[in-house]
Amino acid sequence: MLKRTLLGAIAICALTIPASAQDAYVVGLTGALTGPPSSTYAPAVDALGLYIDRVNAAGGVNGKKIQLILEDDGAQPSKAAANTKKLITQDKAVLILNASLSSTYAPVIAETQAAGVPLLFASSVCPKSVYPPAEPLQFCTTGFAANYDSQATLDFIKARAKGPVKIGFSAMAIPLSRGEIDYAENLSKEMGMTPVDKEVIPPPTADYTSFATKLKDAGPNWVYSWAPWVTQVRTLEALRKLGWQDDYVAWGHLEAESELSRLKDGKFFVVNSNALFQEALPIHKEIEEAAKKAGSKYPAATMAEGWIAGMAIEAALKGAGWPADPAKLKASMENLKVDTKGLRGGPIEWTKDNHFRTKLYYRVYTWSGDKISRVQDWKSYDVK
């Protein structure tokens, strides 16, 4: 009974263990590559792949190639844990990347900690454990970070608003988003604003108008949303449909750039920690070319996160030398400075007790008549 199936599975797996790449750095990734939330993660993973291909094409790191092994967890915690276990024990990955929903964090952290392998959050929100004092094995490169994001946003609102601020909030009914909006709500009070309403919207929602109606009827002159892009933008659209014409701030996810030009809304602001491709820095051109060459189906504008993660990995591996093991890599990562070449407001710097970055930079964009424009340049926050 059971044994047949198990043996069959063992046979299949035994056959398919990839010829272990003895002369390459093995980096494993578990990510939400399918399933509803994949829209946020798949482009980043794609970009990461592009970046590593480029590094390999250029001769690799320390003369060795990087082998990136992808595993799909479909945003399911259980699958993510299994993937991590497989990547560590079977593929002998020296570094694990997580590019999935926050619900997968805990199991992946548990697995990597048990194995002593460094873990890098490469596409989703940074967990608090990378903030100082950081957990020894966890690192994060992504642009968005709980609490700091809201702080930056509310600072922006405060600076921008001319009169008293009556602020409304919109969150998605997932614990992470709800937690951040709760934090923002409290912070807004401290900053002298008046929170008027908070909508927590379930992920599968046919019509946002109902929520928007309530939000609008509370009469805010600012609305802040920190949630997956769908919730942010569809709340905005619903509000606009209802005739609400005030200012709306949201977090700038991967989709921000294309969406800003789609919506063409002068009172819609995105707070961003990545420079938009609009600015056409040399690095942006580079990414665009790479994406074009590889025939990626994702727009280049969604690739910054993945690219930065790639840069961090490259730098970390370089510091770890050859042959790398998790311990060496950890040591390398604990003292790392990644030049983001303008993709961010400054370099990513990791120290022994700060695996997030020492300084955070935020820009705010909006649509001004005919193009995306900056309404606030890099503003830095010290991470303590």
Binding site: L2, P18, A106
Partner: protein, 360 residues
């Protein structure tokens, strides 16, 4: 599951205890011994990843067995299985976080939650049948998930409730191998409980209700009592699976218990083969291992790195395809294949049972 006669000649029973014995022929005993030997040696030869897979299969087996009890034998459809697992997991999570409850407390507590929910889940079954019942269990799934989500948010466990690995008599269960054996024992115990339940009065009552309710009632079987009993037992076992799941993964979060999980369990019992405990085990193994197997197979394709992004979509879609093929080509499920295979050898060198129609 229960055969009127043993599979080899020369096994006559001289009392009912023998008749009830689970293993009757020597071949069966040898088979079991071999299976046990394989199961015991497996963790010492398998990679940790395979070990993890095996643990997942055991966990799924517990859930699938209890669902099989409910659906395959008692005939009550449930789409709330994920909700029940979640209930067990959350009971464990909440108890460990709030009062640092140890393993020996959370396990019965989870079972108790299961019992209570089973009563609640089961109540609609007194009035509803088939699809309508399925939907009512679905509703309860949403309620459990809603409550779980509220707890997570309110207590600030936004990325899930972390749970310490349990200790058993001073020994902390962290090692994969230890978990393998713990889960194996739980799965085996569940199987034994199911086997014994099914051949007891309640098992016969369930099958009677499944076959035709009116007749069962006429036979003096308390329909509502046994239906509720089926729900209660099945839910209690499922919640225990949830508790184990929580400990095994070390984390509880609502995302792990979506509707898809319920559907996976239904898939397990249908793909495995309705009305067979063996089917539940086979289905659990198949559905759990299948995505990994597909992935592994797809990676064998040449130039696979180029397709990196697409391969997972293909993997996902092929899960659907294989499931469809299975449902269309093998309605009896894996157990049907197993039986055919078994019969091929059992009937050797005949194709059909000889002397089937022999009368004196």
């Amino acid at each position: 599951m229960f055969r009127p006669t043993p599979r080899a000649s020369g096994y006559f029973r001289t009392d009912y205890a023998q008749d009830l014995a689970l293993l009757q022929t020597r071949a069966e005993r040898i088979g079991l011994a071999a299976l046990v030997a394989i199961l015991v040696t497996l963790p010492f030869v398998a990679t940790p990843f395979l070990l993890d897979l095996a643990c997942q299969v055991f966990l799924a087996s517990i859930g699938a067995l209890s669902l099989m009890l409910l659906t395959g034998y008692a005939g009550q459809i449930s789409l709330g299985h994920a909700g029940l697992i979640a209930a067990g997991a959350f009971t464990t999570g909440i108890l460990t976080r709030e009062i640092h409850a140890p393993f020996w407390l959370t396990l019965p507590a989870s079972a108790l939650t299961g019992v209570v929910l089973g009563l609640v889940f089961g109540l609609p079954s007194l009035r509803l049948r088939g699809l309508y019942l399925a939907v009512s269990t679905l509703a309860l799934h949403f309620i459990v998930i809603y409550l779980g989500g509220e707890y997570e948010t309110k207590r600030g466990f936004s990325t899930g409730i972390l749970i310490e690995k349990p200790s058993l008599g001073g020994f902390k269960l962290t090692d994969g191998r230890a978990w393998y054996f713990v889960l194996l024992i739980f799965a085996a115990a569940t199987l034994l409980i199911c086997v014994n339940l099914l051949r007891s009065r309640s098992g016969r009552a369930w099958r009677a209700i499944h076959a035709r309710e009116t007749v069962a009632e006429a036979l003096g079987i308390s329909i509502s009592g046994y239906k509720l009993l089926a729900f209660v037992i099945s839910s209690a076992m499922t919640s225990v699976a949830g508790c184990l799941f929580a400990y095994y993964r070390g984390v509880v979060s609502i995302e792990a218990f979506d509707l898809f999980l319920s559907i996976q369990y239904v898939a397990m019992i249908i793909i495995g083969g309705m009305g067979s405990l063996l089917g539940a085990l086979l289905g659990a193994a198949f559905v759990t291992v299948f995505p990994y197997a597909i992935e592994a197979l797809l990676k064998l394709l040449p130039n696979v790195q180029k397709l990196a992004g697409d391969i997972f979509a293909v993997n996902y879609a092929s899960f659907g395809v294989v499931m469809i093929l299975f449902l269309i080509l093998e309605p009896l499920g894996l157990v049907g294949i197993w039986r055919r295979l078994q019969n091929y050898f059992l009937l050797w060198p005949f194709k059909y049972k000889p002397l089937a129609g022999t009368r004196k």
